[in-house]
Amino acid sequence: MNETEEMLKALGLKTMFAISDEEMPALVKEYEVFMNHVEVLDKIDTTDVDILAFPYEIETSFLREDLPNHVISIEDALKNAPSVEDHQIKMPKVVG
């Protein structure tokens, strides 16, 4: 495994994925295209250019009143959890 593959494997784990050896060539290829994109942008002068995080200035500039609305029940909140016990999501133990 070369340096790029090792970096991508580690980045995969940080993104919560175990990348298999079979998946690695396609990931390396995509990474090369991605880095080509980064290079293209690198050549564009953005000195004194602010970021544009949304298409235009969004209108909502206030916070709504802190009143409960659209409340969901505990049962509903847990409906899609794969494992539930006593109204709580069940996961493997962290400590023994």
């Binding site: 980064v38 942008l41 250019v49 544009l52 949304f54 969901i72 899609n80 794969p82």
Partner: protein
């Protein structure tokens, strides 16, 4: 009963030419036929739809009363599976409706199913759907396009008058062009996105597919408006798009971006495009070719890829098999999440998330993610210069017809691909309303033209499309396949 538009079906119900229960019985029989041919549905909601008919009362003053529709499978639907065509959400059943679903229900629309899409809306072919590729209604061996391929194909088959889609880069407008239907994403903020599974929030739009501009005006009007649960939705009043439809577009100023036009290599598509320019001129419009900074045009895909992947990896960090999602058991909480995510997503999704994470990493964020956001501003400013002098921008939807399903992906670094096949993303960067209209056929496959207007000027876009639709005579075209 293929090929009914909203207005046609409404009039038939109003004039009692058709019994609604009989119509829906036939519709579900046709639905099975379409599904067999195109594989465009993830879920068919026959039981829920027929239950609604039990209490249904037709309202002749409401165009949408009793009208069937299909929602892309990333619209949350209470009690109905919403998978976003991903293994991770294969069994996910939302406990609430997307705002748009509620709005359409209040209008007495009846949802007949959820449509297939590229996994988590990331893709342009619909080949990454968990349920397999979707066929094009004009040739089932070709792609429907993506990511809203199922919705485009279903409307293009003539089954229902409208369907819902979402569009982050061109995911409504490209498949609309490939399937010979109208696809419209109004201004970012015009329609609430609450309850639509996100891809990249600063680029995500919701919209629809129809087979007539009149129908599109009706549907978009019903979907639009402020929603307190989506802070990015606009307070601006919703216009009466349908009532204000007019084909009198004299004196409108239309721009064609020269460098995009120059990339059209298919002579028939170019000829068709030139013909449309002539038609607009005959209607009294001014059509001018304008230049757009070529470096910025070539930066569209790089900017999009970096922003979209970064926002996507952040948005979908919650898909871990803990609170919801398909879980794979393992020894520790971390291992559960890693195993669930590794098993739950397709290979291309994992690649996009990993590269998005690369751009967001502290050491890379300024050079990659922030840089892309700065270039985005330059791209939008360059576009807005055109809007200082023009009402709409006209462009080809794609440089070719829908590819064969088995065809390999094209080279993503050629000028033709970077510019011609990606320019629709300008509408996502800037949030401007953008509509694709069927404009002809090449090799017996449909092609589309794109009309993009100024922010919140949906009416101008609809009118430009309405006028062209009349000239072209391609209203309500569909392909239902061999009987």
């Amino acid at each position: 009963m293929y090929g009914l538009t909203i207005t046609q079906l409404h009039d038939m119900l109003k004039n009692k030419e058709i019994d609604i229960k009989t119509y829906y019985e036939q519709l579900f029989s046709d639905t099975n036929e379409v599904q067999q041919r195109l594989n465009a549905f993830v879920t068919i909601t026959k039981e829920e739809a027929l239950a609604k008919l039990d209490h249904f009362q037709f309202d002749e003053n409401n165009w949408l009363s009793g009208i069937p529709f299909v929602a892309k499978d990333n619209y949350s639907t209470k009690g109905i599976k919403t998978t976003a065509s991903s293994r991770m959400l294969e069994h996910y059943v939302p406990i609430y409706n997307a705002h748009v679903i509620d709005k359409l229900a209040k209008k007495d629309c009846i949802m007949i199913g959820k449509s297939s899409m590229d996994e988590l809306a990331m893709g342009g072919t619909n080949k990454s759907a968990l349920t397999g590729p979707v066929g094009n209604p004009y040739d089932a061996t070709r792609i429907a396009g993506g990511s809203s391929g199922g919705s485009a194909a279903i409307v293009g088959s003539g089954l229902v008058p409208f369907a819902l889609g979402s569009d982050t880069g061109d995911s409504i407008r490209k498949p609309a062009g490939y399937c010979g239907v109208i696809g419209f994403k109004p201004t970012w903020g015009r329609i609430s996105r609450y309850g639509v599974i996100p891809y990249a929030s600063s680029l995500d739009h919701v919209g629809a597919f129809t087979r007539s501009v009149e129908d599109m005006a009706i549907v978009i009007e019903a979907m639009s408006g402020r929603d307190e649960r989506d802070m990015t939705s606009s307070n601006r009043p919703v216009e009466a798009y349908y009532d204000h439809l007019t084909s009198d577009i004299q004196d409108k100023k239309i721009a064609v971006i020269q460098n995009i036009y120059d990339q059209i290599s298919n002579s028939e598509i170019k000829e068709n495009f030139d013909h449309i320019i002539d038609l607009y001129k005959k209607m009294g419009c001014t059509v001018d070719f304008v230049e757009y900074d070529e470096t910025l045009l070539k930066a569209m895909l790089p900017t999009y890829t970096i922003i979209a992947n970064s926002e996507a990896t952040s948005n979908h960090a919650c898909l871990d098999g803990v609170k919801y999602g398909t879980r794979v058991d393992a020894a520790t909480p971390d291992e559960v999440m890693i195993a669930s995510r590794t098993n739950g997503f397709g290979a291309h999704i994992k690649r996009r998330f990993i590269l998005g994470n690369l751009a967001l990493a502290t050491q890379n964020q300024e050079k990659m993610f922030r840089k892309a956001q700065r270039v985005r501003r330059l791209i939008v400013e360059e576009l807005n210069k055109i809007y200082e002098n023009y009402d709409v921008i006209l462009g080809p939807t794609a440089g070719h017809v829908a590819a064969k399903i088995e065809e390999e992906e094209t080279d993503r670094l050629t000028d033709e691909y970077l510019i011609l096949e990606n320019h629709l993303v300008l509408g996502n960067f800037a949030g401007t309303p953008s509509l694709t209209l069927p404009c002809g056929f090449v090799d017996e496959m449909p092609i589309g033209i794109n009309i993009m207007g100024k922010l919140f000027e949906e009416q101008t876009v609809l009118n430009a499309a309405y006028a062209l639709e009349k000239e072209l005579g391609l209203k309500n075209k569909y392909a239902k396949g061999e009987a």
